[in-house]
């Protein structure tokens, strides 16, 4: 049980690096969607007995993270007619190397933190930290708004992974909080991305520099 979970989190961490190296926006969106599906299914691995509530939340999470949000992003991408991330702030190779360094640092750091016995062998904390770091690199280093949104989604995935640590003690709160955050946030983001595209006729955030001193 724990090794399958570790394998899935390991694959999610690999998807982080895939998102960092991808210069094609559809590829990044697909990586984020795959990561969302992987992580949505994860709570079912943690529960020892089958719980209807957990299963329902897992299904909804997979639907939202794996299908609804990527379709929103795809639609925005088609409307803005952007397909590639050209010339980001942090280049692709440096961001890939940074992400790898961050993953290694996350594994090392997680070993130093005190964990509950049931969490010590798992990759939950390293996976969470690595995803958060990757999300930040994408948020800061990319130019296209959709890539930044993907970075935000990966950040959310990392925090969700971390929340799984608490799933036994406060299950309902964790899951409902995350779901609320995700659905409403992305709904709003979807609208805003659409509006920005209409207002600026592009999703290049370097054009959003009118407001300054």
């Amino acid at each position: 049980m724990s090794s399958t979970m570790n394998l899935m989190i390991g694959m999610a961490m690999g998807l982080n690096l895939l998102a960092l190296g991808g210069s094609r926006v559809p590829q990044v969106i697909r990586a984020v969607a795959a990561q969302g599906i992987l992580l949505g299914v994860l709570p079912l691995m943690l529960e020892h007995e089958f719980d209807w509530m957990v299963a329902l939340v897992a299904v909804v999470t997979v639907m939202v993270k794996g299908f609804l949000i990527p379709s929103l992003l795809h639609r925005a991408m088609r409307a803005a007619k952007i397909e590639r991330e050209i010339d980001p702030f942090i280049g692709f190779v440096p961001s890939l190397l940074l992400g790898a360094a961050g993953t290694i640092a996350a594994v090392a750091a997680a070993r130093m933190l005190p964990l509950l016995p049931e969490h010590t062998g798992t990759l939950l904390v390293p996976g969470a930290l690595a995803s958060i770091f990757t999300g930040f690199i994408l948020l800061i280093g990319r130019v296209k708004a959709i890539s930044q949104v993907c970075g935000y989604l990966i950040l959310e995935n990392g925090i969700y992974l971390f929340g799984l640590l608490l799933i036994h003690s406060t299950p309902l709160l964790v899951e409902s909080g995350i779901l609320l955050d995700l659905t409403v946030g992305v709904f709003v983001i979807g609208i805003i991305v659409d509006r920005i595209q209409r207002a600026f006729d592009s999703l290049d955030t370097r054009k959003l520099t009118v407001l300054r001193e």
Partner: protein, 480 residues
């Protein structure tokens, strides 16, 4: 029961606003709900209810000490809003009214949240509800401001969620049973796992500090406050920052109970002074008077946080300052909105001599500026004086010196910009001689009332308020 009405009433009003068919009469929902809300809030202030210790929501002393201020601010903004929306008939106001009412309900919920998770959910909902308000003006600059707000604010929320999880894990690792109310967390005290507590503090401070607008997470503030309508700016500066501040205070109490209070206070002092410094530097350079108000807000958030770090006396002063700052900022934003509408522009290059064009608004603006830079006899003078006194009493002399220096330079920056806008030969964005505009009472009376209350607060703070603040301090610094 009344405390839940505080939450439910505005949310019901928001739902009603969505369904209300008439554009012309919809704005009246705002002062209607607002006045009932204010009556309820003050009734609760004067006769506080009993709060069950394990409850997830409750009108506890912290809520009692600041929520009535938010309610009062909303009432003034709502009254202003009726006239404002009547002037801005070119834009549909359904989403605006509904969002504003929803924000009031969510702010009431956020102030009364006694559970770590509920606190996060309500602040997150507030962040998201503010988005349609920010791009009410519909310009591309407004979209840019909204995008930055969403990105920075969204990251802040995500980090505060992470911090909440870390704090929850600290409790669970320390043998807790999963009860995440602040009372339970504080009771667990030294049992909380220390490394997780520190990590949680960092994330929670950064996350909720982003909502407050502390530097260096303040970058969304100038753009957002600059491009949003004046009402929205007032509610954000006076209401949303307050709920984020109460969040920081509640978390700080838990950290203190875990034994890391000294580290928490040091970080608060550092971030508060840094915020004041950054705000002052930008205040000296800015030429846009709405962005100036944003920087002033950053500065005052720094003052609040410094007060909170200076022990019980400083915390009392911080609560006082929440009231005086919130009301004064409200007046400033509303009068600045009047001036901007009359002038058609926002920078000192294009706007001059508004005292001839809009004399009443200009007068309120100048008075508000004096109030916010701590001139007696307004409220902020007395609250900031108490903060400095607390700094001296606890031996933080360097902090007090930097505080005073920042106040001085903020005074320079603010007076320079405000007087360059208000004095001189009248000049507005449209060419041609600007003539005096007849100002409607609906946009003058609310800011005037707010200034009056701020004056009264300074000169004669009501005993009920003092008692409320003392109780709140006792809740956050429980006697061992």
């Amino acid at each position: 029961m009344r405390e839940f009405l505080l939450i439910i009433l505005p949310l019901a009003g928001a739902a009603l606003a969505v369904l209300w068919p008439s554009e012309r009469t919809r704005p009246w929902l705002m002062p209607a709900v607002g006045s009932v809300h204010t009556v309820l809030a003050f009734w609760l202030l004067f006769s506080p209810p009993h709060v069950a210790p394990g409850a997830w929501f409750g009108f506890d002393p912290i809520a009692r000490s600041v929520l009535p201020a938010v309610s009062l601010l909303f009432l003034a903004c709502a009254a202003y809003g009726v006239t404002y929306l009547r002037i801005r008939t070119e834009r549909p106001n359904r989403v605006f009214v509904a969002s504003l009412l929803a924000i009031l309900g969510l702010l009431s919920a956020g102030h009364q949240a006694r559970h770590l998770g509920m606190l996060w959910i309500t602040t997150e909902a507030v962040t998201l509800t503010a988005v349609p308000l920010l791009h009410f003006n519909g310009t591309s600059r407004a979209f840019e401001a909204t995008w930055k707000y969403l990105l920075v604010g969204g990251t802040g929320i995500a980090l505060s969620l992470l911090g909440s999880f870390c704090l929850g894990y600290a409790s669970v690792r320390g043998g807790g049973n999963g009860d995440l109310t602040f009372v339970a967390l504080m009771a667990q005290g030294a049992g909380l796992s220390r490394p997780w507590v520190l990590i949680a503090w960092v994330f929670l401070l950064v996350g909720y500090g982003t909502k407050m607008g502390l530097a260096p997470m303040h970058t969304w503030k100038p753009d957002a406050y600059g491009e949003a309508p004046a009402i929205v700016g007032a509610m954000l500066a006076g209401g949303v920052t307050t709920v984020a501040f109460t969040a920081v205070l509640r978390v700080r109490a838990v950290i203190n109970a875990a034994g890391e209070g000294l580290a928490a206070d040091r970080t608060l002092l550092a971030i508060g002074l840094f915020s004041m410094l950054v705000a002052v530097l930008f205040l000296l350079g800015t030429r846009d008077f709405k962005r100036m108000l944003a920087y002033s807000s950053v500065e005052h958030m720094g003052i609040l946080v410094i007060g909170a770090a200076l022990g019980p006396a400083g915390l009392w002063a911080a609560f006082f300052h929440v009231w005086s700052n919130g009301l004064t900022k409200g007046a400033l934003f509303l009068s600045a909105g009047n001036i901007r509408r009359a002038a058609g522009a926002r920078t000192a290059d294009e706007v001059r001599g508004m005292s001839s064009v809009t004399p009443q608004s200009a007068a309120i603006f100048v008075a508000g500026m004096f109030a916010v830079t701590a001139c007696p006899p307004f409220g902020p003078f007395f609250s900031e004086l108490r903060v400095i006194r607390a700094a001296f009493e606890t031996g933080h002399l360097a902090v007090a010196a930097m505080f005073l220096a920042c106040l001085l330079f903020a005074f320079f920056g603010l007076t320079r910009l405000v007087f360059s806008i208000v004095d001189g030969r009248p000049r507005t964005a449209e060419k041609g001689a600007a003539k005096r505009i007849r100002e409607k009472a609906g946009v003058i009376i609310p800011p005037l009332a707010l200034m009056g209350i701020s004056l009264w607060l300074g000169l004669a703070t009501p005993a009920a308020l003092r008692e409320a603040w003392t109780d709140a301090v006792a809740q956050l610094y429980p006697a061992p």
